[in-house]
């Protein structure tokens, strides 16, 4: 079964606006990662946040993690047409050496020019 659930399932905004998408998960994690997928570049890693971190930034991306609520959010500031893609959160369970990702169903983001 899929661990994470992204919200909303789809989001359409104007270029230049900020986009926020949320992810909830069910069990304890080692880390949480966000990936972007579009037809041109496939599935690309955006940012990783560990379970002992609360916030991380990378360029126009800001990720927060609330382990007490088992949730994370991804904020994309000053959106561009090239940000149009599907965004997935993916979790890694702690321990055992197995660190395969468990993905949610994704948020489909459309940036209107």
């Amino acid at each position: 079964s899929q661990q994470g659930e992204e919200d909303p399932q789809a989001l359409s905004i104007q270029e230049g606006e900020n986009a926020t998408m949320n992810c909830s998960y069910k069990t304890s994690i080692n880390n949480l990662q966000w990936y972007r997928q579009n037809s041109g570049r496939g599935l690309v890693h955006l940012i990783l946040i560990r379970s002992n971190e609360r916030e991380k930034h990378s360029g126009r991306l800001r990720v927060t993690l609330d382990t007490s609520k088992k949730s994370s959010s991804l904020l994309i500031t000053a959106s561009r047409a090239a940000d149009t893609a599907s965004y997935f959160c993916a979790t890694v369970y702690p321990g055992g050496g197995a660190d395969g990702l468990t993905f949610g169903k994704g948020t489909h983001l459309i940036i209107q020019p």
């Binding site: 080692n30 496939g42 890693h45 660190d99 395969g100 990702l101 169903k105």
Partner: protein
């Protein structure tokens, strides 16, 4: 640096036929993963290798799917016999050996079973 390579990019087969996918990870990446992504869903892990050994194959349908990673580099994923519900994109990814590193994904193989 070169990315994860996969072939073929597209494959169409009839149900009950067999098919094989090939993956070449990024040089130096000891860990290799195969994922299945059905249309409209996120990828689902099928199997994880670390060097030659299997770390996790709990979600691999072993009655029809098999995978191997010879010499700790290239990997093949096979389906025999294929079912209609196997239509999906099969993604290969690799990462450095220690847990907590990002995974690098290949372009995937789109399989259509008719």
């Amino acid at each position: 640096e070169a990315g994860v390579a996969q072939s073929p990019r597209y494959k169409i087969i009839e149900k009950r036929q067999s098919v094989a996918f090939w993956c070449n990870p990024i040089s130096g990446h000891a860990t290799l993963y195969w994922y299945q992504q059905i249309l409209g869903q996120g990828p689902k892990l099928l199997i994880q290798f670390q060097n030659n050994g299997v770390v996790d194959d709990s979600q691999l349908p072993k009655d029809r799917f098999s995978a191997e990673r010879l010499k700790g580099v290239d990997s093949t994923l096979k389906i025999q016999p294929a079912k209609l519900e196997d239509s999906a994109v099969y993604l290969c990814a690799s990462s450095l050996i220690y847990p907590g590193f990002e995974q690098y994904f290949g372009p995937g193989t789109r399989l259509t079973v008719t």
